[in-house]
Symmetry: C2
Subunit: 422 residues, 2 copies
């Protein structure tokens, strides 16, 4: 690697171009308050991917798509036979999400590749930019389907029967998407059918308050806390709200309230490290003068310690069952990701690249899960965080400044230049 070329590439990162692209992407699914609602495999998701393809085509990147709809843009290496360095993130958003979560990791990857090209820096290894399918899991649970299938963590058709709130299945929507994108060359599905990357680096906003509070530029992510997701269904009996004696009811709302209260006790953590969330609730028939016959709710439980996560998560079904008074309950685990440790080598490359540019850096854990965690068994993997205002994410007010995001892209550029020449 040319000792001078990497700094040239870093200098070629264009803050205004990257910001402009993010704002263009934010128009797909724009919602009030500068937010974005871009659910995976929708027309909006497709429109944002097609814009990415167009930008990639302008600089000669070769597109391909796999069986999960994961989208790749390849910058060839001087030795095309070598496993590529992979970078990217996802383009879907939360239903009431912001303009940076996920999409910035994709746009930053594009910016870094474009900067390398504009600096005339050819790398030995190919560099591939990836947009993973359905990271958020807001429309089809769980999230990270694209990266999980790529990594062989779950089979490609594991989620075909998962339905969204309108009853559309993931399998049918994916099939439709692939048919609409049939002009994109098909590639084998990740390490299941293909070959492992040489390394994986993902840029993302922090989604927490630390970098901003400490006025730092770059977070070197050493690991991700583990996550377990459950869905609970409580079956009661509908009754007339005016006639059925309360003592004789099998009221699904009331047993749901009892279950959540019991789960709060199970999940109580005086250290406030454990994250326990009931974010989704659905009641049927959902009529104010009918006793609820059914209630469903989600459980999202996270902790950096695998033993804690195992113990609390394993107790969920029993605690829910014990809380039932008149109803029956079933608990299904939808997602179980152990705490992840990223590659010390990648962490060091990221830290060195950022410090060489005079940036303020800290090592940290990620509270959110990311596609990157599924790359860990495949290849040396890591993440680059930048600050976000107030630590707010999954909300329209999510915000990072153009210069914070440009700093992240500059760090990534140097990291890709380093890794792709190893």
């Amino acid at each position: 690697m040319d000792g001078k070329a990497a700094p040239d590439a870093v200098a070629a990162v264009d803050q205004a171009r990257q910001w402009g692209r993010l704002m263009e992407m934010a128009e797909f699914g724009a919602i009030p308050g500068e937010g974005v609602n871009r659910a995976c495999l929708t027309a909006l998701d497709r429109a944002s991917r097609r814009l990415l393809l167009a930008w990639g085509a302008e600089i000669g990147l070769a597109p391909s798509i796999d069986a999960l709809g994961n989208l790749f843009l390849r910058q060839e290496g001087t030795d095309p036979t070598l496993p590529p360095v992979l970078t990217g993130s996802h383009m879907d958003s939360q239903p009431n999400g912001g303009r940076f979560d996920g999409i910035w990791g994709v746009i930053a990857g594009l910016e870094a590749i474009q900067a390398l090209r504009e600096a005339g820096l050819a790398t030995k290894r190919p560099i591939e930019l990836v947009a993973w399918t359905n990271e958020e899991g807001g429309r089809f649970a769980p999230g990270c389907m694209g990266s999980m299938a790529y990594a062989g963590y779950r089979p490609a058709h594991a989620w075909d029967e998962v339905t969204d709130a309108e009853g559309m299945s993931f399998g049918a929507e994916l099939e439709k998407h692939l048919a609409l994108e049939a002009h994109i060359p098909r590639r084998p599905l990740g390490v299941v059918e293909g070959v492992a990357p040489f390394a994986y680096v993902e840029c993302h906003i922090e989604q927490g308050p630390l970098l901003e509070a400490e006025d730092l530029d770059i977070g070197v992510v050493e690991g991700i806390q583990g996550s377990r997701w459950f869905s609970v269904e409580i079956i009661g009996r509908s009754d007339h709200a005016g006639t059925a004696p309360v003592s004789l009811r099998r009221d699904a709302v009331q047993d749901m309230v009892r279950a959540i209260t019991a789960l709060n006790a199970l999940m109580y953590d005086p250290a406030d490290v454990l994250r326990f969330t009931v974010g989704r609730v659905e009641v049927s028939p959902n009529s104010s003068n009918s006793v609820a016959a059914r209630a469903r709710f989600s459980i999202d439980c996270r902790h950096p310690d695998a033993a804690v996560l195992r113990a609390r998560g394993d107790a969920v079904p029993g605690v829910v069952q014990s809380a039932m008074r008149g109803c029956s309950a079933s608990v299904a685990e939808r997602f179980n990701a152990l705490p992840t440790a990223f590659s010390p080598m990648i962490c060091q490359v990221v830290e060195d690249a950022a410090r060489a540019q005079g940036m303020g850096v800290r090592r940290m854990q990620s509270g959110a899960f990311h596609d990157a965690q599924f790359m860990v068994p495949l290849c040396p993997s890591g993440m680059i965080f930048v600050p976000c205002r107030g630590g707010v994410s999954h909300h329209p007010s999510e915000y990072s400044t153009p210069s914070q995001l440009a700093a992240g892209a500059r760090a990534l550029t140097a990291v890709l230049a380093e890794l792709a020449n190893r």
Copy 2:
């Protein structure tokens, strides 16, 4: 009144015809499990009303419709200047409702009028059959809009801005309905613009277990417990489920759970007379990995004692506010109906008519509210209950036998003959 004509009319009640009509009506909005989902002011509601109009036309009943869409079919009296006897109920159903709640009261009224005609029994007073608009309140809350406006309890346009789950407003849907039914002669709105009836009698299934348990035919309804409905909105803040510390959250689901738990304590009644129901819950953004920014729920509270209902209901806003930890809450009262006492005269007429036909009779209270309660200030009013299986209502399995329903129609026939000749 001819002492013999009334028995002839009672004998003319046709069990098979009444049952056949109920089964025909149940096809409008049929759902699995023999249920019905026929929301008010929908095309299904209109279709059922048009079928009623057709049946009325076959026997020469004169239709009219008022500003709330309440539909009337008039059998003329020998003295058309006298205030009519009014009977009927509603044709809309719960979203997951049964085949008898409401609709039977309308079909029974038609059967009774037809039986009187077939027996050649002309009455002095006109008899009017009414189908009230939106009794259930399942699509547009509260229920009983048609009868409340007819009675002058609330102004005709009180609910114009009320929206359904799809954001359609009651006012716009009513306007559309009236435009589609413009061929029906328009009549003044009840006592607001018109004249009070001489009496009102409504047939309904019991929606409770007493008549079946005691093997009786007819319930003489002496009163209806009071109802208060509230809607509660809790505003929190959305956060990332993996990053936001639990202690710093403003989680709308958690504060909703705390509010419902506190309300359970407020509404606890060791005598199990008070009916407290949270039947409707809506959470936003309703994503499993986002802390809820908003939660809404309904409160339905009923008791036969006005003082109890006043005290418990008035305490609702304070109890909800006290339960908030990180969120803010607003409580709106949607409906407030005091306990109702029906006319002793009507109760006696119903009881005498049923006993004269050898039926088993008891006096009772109604747990559910009904359009009849809004008629009480206007004219002597009452209700006739028949048994329903297991006391189940507001559910597809709601059921009364053809012979139980025929007994109710026979009682009504004799009651109408008696009242319309007074």
